[in-house]
């Protein structure tokens, strides 16, 4: 199950391109900063509209049938996935298909800039699909600045046919990163709890899917309640809580083998598990005699180490990306509030002081923000700095809960619960501007989304 995307240096590994003598990559105009071409997308929002971008169908030199479909059909689907990724970021407006003409294969490295400037597109993504002799696919991905008539970046991806969608996500990531200056996030997966049935008999199953909802797969059969899954940093396993055997406990599920193992030999209710950034520890909560504290244990098992000792409910821990600190919630002051402590449990400091209660803190993978659920009438997703400043609420619905960060720390997944007997949970995402709020498609209801890291 080790499939890695191979990154190609297109100028050398794509001989068909070589005869075109591809232009030198990314010759930035003079007086530009290191990472800046002329074309930049404003990621703060509110100043400029989403960038118009053209992503025509990616041509193939020879139509070959592959296990993923024929290469010409793939060229259409790849362009579509790239456009959807970029549109969903809220920062781009891909041109509709009927406003783009077909691109001939030799054009991929020699764009018709005059034509594209007439479409209103500011940037242009072209690419190609090729079935390799060894059964793999090569997808080329080129980004152009239409007004400046220059190439901004290029990447090539070699993928097994089963992973063809990843080539599109990697291409979209390349474009997104180049034009926004933000980290990539489209080639990533989400693990969550799929839900069916009425609230008092809800059937919950672990499920995994790509960030865009594709390649959906159930991991557990629904016989036991399962809650709060989280990816291991190496993405080969998932830690979660299950009621199997009517004993609430923490398990690690190995994605490759489908096997699972108990993490803490059970003496009490254990829940709220998260991996440390290096994967060596699992942070969790243990309820004993009505008192709940935060503990950590080696991810291989062993004796847990207690990190909090306050009488009250301390739970929901999350490591800072460097592993040195932990953010958690505690009701030691009365209601739920957010606290930060050192990874060894020392120096516990409250950071949330606004009205209402604060819960489910999650440290951004960029380290700069804490996402949380604010309980004040409605349950809302919000962000604040790790010192507690700059609070900003991103959503406003009856019950939004459980934020989880995208790999680049710019988007948050959460779940929205429906009111009343027929109410169900659904997965949603919102970006840091709070403007781009979207439902994430799932086959059934969903809760507890956990966004995994960028795939290797």
């Amino acid at each position: 199950m080790r499939r890695f995307l191979t990154l190609l240096a297109l100028s050398t590994a794509a001989p068909v391109m070589a005869q075109e003598t591809p232009p030198a990559p990314s010759a930035a105009p003079a007086a530009q900063q290191q990472d800046g071409g002329g074309l930049v997308v404003d990621v703060e929002g509110g100043i400029s509209a989403p960038m118009p971008i053209a992503i025509p169908v990616m041509p193939t030199q020879s139509v070959v049938n592959t296990p993923a479909g024929s290469t010409d059909a793939l060229g259409r689907q790849l362009a579509d996935i790239i456009a959807t990724d970029l549109r969903n970021s809220g920062l781009f407006t891909p041109l509709p298909a009927n406003r783009m003409r077909a691109v001939a294969f030799p054009e991929v490295t020699a764009p018709a800039f005059d034509y594209w400037s007439g479409t209103g597109a500011q940037s242009l993504v072209q690419g190609f699909v090729r079935a390799n002799g060894d059964g793999n696919l090569t997808v080329g991905c080129y980004l152009y600045d239409v007004a400046a008539k220059t190439e901004l970046t290029r990447q090539g991806f070699v993928v097994p046919p089963a992973d063809w969608r990843r080539a599109a996500h990697k291409c979209a990531d390349t474009i997104y990163a180049r034009l926004t200056g933000e980290g990539p996030y489209f080639d990533s997966r989400v693990v969550y709890v799929s839900e069916t049935g009425p609230k008092d008999k809800r059937v919950k199953r672990l499920a995994i899917m790509d960030q865009d909802g594709a390649n959906h797969r159930f991991l557990t059969n629904g016989q036991s309640i399962v809650l709060t899954p989280r990816f291991a940093p190496n993405q080969q396993s998932i830690v979660y809580m299950s009621y199997v055997g009517k004993i609430p406990a923490i398990y690690v599920y190995d994605i490759g083998s489908g096997k699972q193992r108990l993490v803490v030999q059970n003496v009490a209710t254990t829940f709220a598990p998260r991996f440390s950034p290096d994967g060596r520890f699992i942070l969790f909560s243990m309820a004993q005699g009505g008192n709940t504290d935060v503990y950590r244990v080696s991810s291989q098992g062993g004796t847990p180490q207690r990190l909090t000792t306050s009488p009250g409910i301390d739970t929901g821990g999350s490591y800072s990306p460097d592993g040195s600190k932990i953010v958690f919630e505690s009701d030691r002051s009365g209601g739920q509030q957010i606290y930060v402590m050192n990874a060894d449990g020392s120096n516990q400091q409250r950071i949330s002081f606004g009205g209402g209660r604060y819960a489910t803190p999650v440290w951004s993978p960029r380290g700069d923000l804490i996402a949380f659920t604010k309980l004040a009438g409605n349950f809302r997703i919000g962000i604040m700095s790790p010192s507690g400043g700059g609070e900003k609420l991103l959503t406003d619905s009856w019950s939004d809960e459980g934020p989880s960060w995208s790999p680049n720390g710019r988007v948050i997944n959460f779940y929205r619960s429906g009111r009343g007997s027929g109410g169900s949970g659904q997965l949603w995402s919102v970006d840091l501007t709070g403007v781009n709020e979207r439902r994430i498609p799932t086959p059934l209801g969903g809760s507890d989304p956990a966004w995994g890291p960028l795939r290797p």
């Binding site: 809650l227 409910i313 019950s399």
Partner: protein, 173 residues
Amino acid sequence: MTLKTTLILATAALALAACSKKRPEVLPPAPVTGPADTGSTGNPTGQTGNEVVPGSNADFTRSVTSNTVNFGLDQYDIDPQARAILDSQAEWLNRYPNVRITIEGHCDERGTREYNLALGDRRANSAKNYLAAKGVSPSRMSVISYGSERPAETGSDEAAYAANRRAVTIVLS
């Protein structure tokens, strides 16, 4: 060995039940179906035909004021009403000193998931501690928190929330 003991007990219980018919016979509860750990499942084995076996969960729920105590919003203290209910539970449990119980703690849906797991544990332990103070040995009692995963009522209104903030005592077979 265990099986034998159970059989003998059951026979004795049947005989007892046969000669003391003070209460009207209750209808058998609806059969319990579905997955093994769906939460508040009663003990179906307490039923033999239409007879309620003394010491069974069916006997317990019929004999006590209620198998459920309720809590205030974000609270876990035992109020006077809950006290009266738990007193009746303790009385029954002290009559059957070999019976083991589990106490389920539950919450309403207006709390975050993991906090509710902890709060459900608090509530179950409140009931457990009260019963222990009334002479029920802690070794006979286990607790489990379902947080807000298994509401008694599925509505999203104050009446449903109040009903869902509860600790339920269940006699284990």
